[in-house]
C-alpha cells in the first residue's frame, strides 16, 4: 500500500520534473522534421560554436587532469603545512556562482581590469577572446579530477606505492604504472565530469566571451542567441546535440556498472 504510493509518487515526480523536459528538447528540435534541424546545425556560426566548444573542452581536460592528478598525489600522500587550505582551495570553484567566476577574469584582464590595458598594448586579448573562455572554463572545471581522485587514493592506501619505491621505482613510474592504473574508474570519472561541465558551462563563459557569433560563441552561448532570436528549432537542435554530448559523458561514467547489469555479472 504505502510502498505502491511511494512508487507512483516517485515516478510521477520523475516524469514531470525530469522526463518531460527531456522529451520536450527533442520534440522542439524535430518540430520541422529532422532535415530542417540538421540544416540549422550546418551554418558557419553553429559549426564555429561546436568547434570552439570542443577546443576549449580538450584544453580544460588536459590541463586540469594533469595538474589535478599531481594535486591529488600531493594532497593524499603527504601531510604538510597548508594542506587543509589547499584542500579548500581546490574545491572553491564549486561554490562560486558561474557568473562570479567569469567576472573574476574580467576584473583581471578586462578593458578596466588590472592587466587588461597592459596586455592590450602588446596586442594580447584575453577578455572577449578564446583565451578568456578557456580561463573561465579552467576555473569552473578545476575541482573535478582532484576531488574524485583524493578520496579513492586515500582509501587505496600507499602500500603498493611503498612496494614500488622499495623496488626502486621513481615518481613518474609509480604514478603512471602503479597508482593511476589501479584506480582507473576514479580517473575516468573525474575526466568525464570535467568534460560534461566544460561542454555545458554557460554563466562564466557568457561573462567573458563578448558573444561574437562565429568567433567567441560556444555552444551554450549559441543556444542563448538563437533562443532569444526566436529561432526555436535552431536553439533546441543545438541544445539536443549539446545535451547528448554532455549526457553521454555522464552515462559513460556508469558504463562499467551497466555492462555488469546487462550481462548479469558481479561487478
Amino acid at each position: 500500500m504505502s510502498r505502491y504510493l511511494i512508487w507512483v509518487m516517485s515516478w510521477l515526480f520523475i516524469v514531470v520534473m525530469l522526463v518531460i523536459p527531456l522529451v520536450l528538447v527533442l520534440t522542439e528540435a524535430l518540430r520541422n522534421g529532422f532535415l530542417a534541424s540538421m540544416k540549422t546545425l550546418y551554418t558557419p556560426d553553429a559549426l564555429a560554436a561546436i568547434w570552439l566548444t570542443i577546443r576549449v573542452t580538450v584544453v580544460a581536460i588536459i590541463i586540469n587532469t594533469f595538474f589535478g592528478t599531481l594535486a591529488a598525489w600531493v594532497l593524499s600522500r603527504f601531510r604538510f603545512v597548508g594542506r587543509q587550505t589547499l584542500l579548500v582551495l581546490v574545491e572553491l570553484p564549486l561554490s562560486i556562482s558561474p557568473v562570479v567566476s567569469g567576472l573574476l577574469w574580467l576584473l583581471l584582464f578586462g578593458a578596466q581590469g588590472w592587466f587588461g590595458p597592459f596586455l592590450e598594448r602588446w596586442n594580447i586579448h584575453i577578455a572577449f577572446a578564446t583565451s578568456g573562455i578557456i580561463l573561465a572554463t579552467l576555473f569552473v572545471t578545476l575541482p573535478y579530477v582532484v576531488r574524485t581522485l583524493i578520496p579513492v587514493m586515500e582509501i587505496q592506501g600507499r602500500e603498493t606505492e611503498e612496494v614500488a619505491v622499495l623496488a626502486g621505482a621513481g615518481f613518474w613510474r609509480i604514478l603512471w604504472s602503479v597508482t593511476l592504473p589501479s584506480i582507473p574508474e576514479a580517473l575516468i570519472s573525474g575526466i568525464l565530469l570535467t568534460t560534461a561541465r566544460a561542454l555545458g558551462e554557460f554563466g562564466a563563459v557568457s561573462v567573458v566571451s563578448g558573444h561574437i557569433p562565429g568567433e567567441t560563441e560556444t555552444m551554450p552561448l549559441r543556444i542563448e542567441d538563437l533562443y532569444n532570436g526566436y529561432q526555436s528549432v535552431g536553439a533546441f537542435t543545438m541544445a539536443t546535440l549539446l545535451a547528448i554530448m554532455a549526457m553521454l559523458t555522464v552515462l559513460l561514467r556508469t558504463a562499467p556498472d551497466w555492462a555488469c547489469y546487462l550481462w548479469k555479472k558481479d561487478p
Binding site: T160, E162, V163, L166, A167, G168, P181
Partner: protein, 362 residues
C-alpha cells in the same frame, strides 16, 4: 647481508609519544629474527624504519657495516612483504613479480626472456607454477602471500622483511607456510626479519626472538634462552600462560605467601627480600599426600584438589582452587599419577621450584 641498528629514536609526528626509544639491534648475516610484542610496541615501526619506509629522528641503520639513509640506497636489496600483501591489483601475478625487474634502467635490465624465466622460477619456488596469468583478486590468502613473497624476492635481495605476513591466513595454512618459509630462508641464504604478534610462531621459526614493549627492546635472545631466562615478568607473561606466586627470599629459600605452595631453595646469589616467582602451568608439581617430609609435617597440611578440565595438546588440564584464586595446572597425558574415581587429583601442596624469579618493581 647483516643489519645493524644503532640507537634509533622516533617520536610520533603530532604528539610527544615515543615510538622508538633508543633501539639498538644487530641482525647477523643469515639469521632469522622475529620481532614480537603486543600491538603498539613499535615492531612494525622498526621494520619500516629498516626498510627506509618510515623516517626516524636520530640513530643509524647500517647494512653490512655501511650506513644507509635514503630509500634509494636500499632499492632492490631488500624484499618487503606487507601484512595485506599490497599486490598491484591491475597487474597479473607474473607482472606483479616482475615489477622490480621491469623498472630497472634499460642497461641493467635483464632481457624479456630472462625476466620471464625468473618469474617462472619464482612461481615454481613458491609452489604456484600455474598462477602467472591470474589476477590478484582471484587468489586465496595463501596464494597472495606467496605472490607477495615472490615479488619481494625477484631482484635477489639478501634481506627479507616480513610484516605480519601470516596475520590474515587461517591457522592450518599458517602453520604449513611457516615451516616452508623457514626452509626458503635457509635455502636462499637470506637474512630475515619477521614481525608478528604470535609468540608461538616466533619461537617456532626464528633463530633469535626480539621482544619489544613500548618502543623498547626488552629482550633479544634465542628461543631456548627466552624460555629459561626471560628478562622480565612481561616477557614471561607474553611468551605463554604463566602463574605467579609472590613471596620473600629468606636465607636462600623462597617462601611463597600462599601456604599451599611449598618453599624451595634458590641460588645463593639471590639476596633476602620480596620476590615474584612465575611458572608455567605444566611445570607445577602437585605433591601427593604420601610424600611428607619432616619439614612439611611441621606445617599445617591443607588438602588441595585439582579438578579435571579435559585434554589439550597432549596435556591433561586441571584447575586448582586456591584460597583466593584459581590456577591452571597441566599434567602430561601419559603421566602415571593416582587419581580419584571422579578424576580429581588430590595433593597436599604445590611444588613450584621450577619457577623463574623476578624482583618486583618498587
Amino acid at each position: 647481508m647483516s643489519i645493524e641498528i644503532c640507537d634509533l629514536v622516533r617520536h610520533a609526528s603530532d604528539s610527544r609519544q615515543v615510538l622508538l626509544d633508543h633501539v639498538s639491534l644487530e641482525v647477523p648475516k643469515g639469521y632469522f629474527v622475529a620481532l614480537i610484542g603486543p600491538s603498539g610496541a613499535g615492531k612494525t615501526t622498526l621494520l619500516r624504519a629498516i626498510a627506509g619506509l618510515d623516517p626516524y629522528d636520530s640513530g643509524t641503520i647500517s647494512l653490512d657495516g655501511r650506513i644507509v639513509t635514503d630509500i634509494q640506497a636500499r632499492a632492490g636489496k631488500m624484499g618487503f612483504v606487507f601484512q595485506h600483501y599490497a599486490l598491484f591489483p591491475h597487474m597479473s601475478v607474473a607482472k606483479n613479480i616482475a615489477f622490480g625487474l621491469n623498472i630497472l634502467p634499460a642497461r641493467s635490465r635483464p632481457s624479456r626472456k630472462e625476466i620471464a624465466a625468473r618469474v617462472q622460477e619464482l612461481l615454481d619456488l613458491m609452489q604456484i607454477p600455474d598462477l602467472g596469468n591470474a589476477y590478484p583478486a582471484r587468489l586465496s590468502g595463501g596464494q597472495k602471500q606467496r605472490v607477495a613473497l615472490a615479488r619481494a624476492l625477484a631482484t635477489h635481495p639478501q634481506v627479507l622483511l616480513l610484516d605480519e605476513p601470516f596475520g590474515a591466513l587461517d591457522p592450518i595454512v599458517r602453520r604449513s607456510i611457516r615451516g616452508w618459509l623457514r626452509d626458503l630462508h635457509d635455502r636462499l641464504g637470506l637474512t630475515t626479519v619477521l614481525v608478528t604478534h604470535d609468540q608461538e610462531e616466533a619461537l617456532d621459526v626464528a633463530d633469535r626472538v626480539v621482544i619489544m614493549q613500548e618502543g623498547r627492546i626488552v629482550q633479544n635472545a634465542s628461543p631456548q634462552c627466552l624460555d629459561s631466562h626471560p628478562a622480565t615478568e612481561f616477557v614471561m607473561e607474553f611468551l605463554g600462560e604463566s602463574v605467579s606466586f609472590s613471596g620473600v627470599i629468606h636465607n636462600g629459600q623462597m617462601i611463597p605467601d600462599e601456604k599451599t605452595a611449598f618453599p624451595f631453595a634458590v641460588p645463593d646469589s639471590w639476596e633476602n627480600g620480596p620476590i615474584i616467582a612465575m611458572i608455567r602451568p605444566y611445570e607445577i608439581n602437585l605433591l601427593p599426600p604420601d610424600r611428607q617430609t619432616d619439614e612439611q609435617t611441621n606445617r599445617q597440611i591443607v588438602k588441595i584438589e585439582a579438578i579435571p578440565r579435559g585434554f589439550r595438546n597432549g596435556y591433561r588440564h586441571y584447575t586448582i582452587q586456591l584460597k583466593e584464586r584459581t590456577i591452571p595446572f597441566f599434567v602430561a597425558q601419559d603421566a602415571e599419577i593416582p587419581t580419584q574415581p571422579n578424576g580429581v587429583l588430590v595433593g597436599i601442596g604445590l611444588d613450584v621450584s621450577r619457577a623463574r624469579l623476578f624482583r618486583p618493581n618498587i
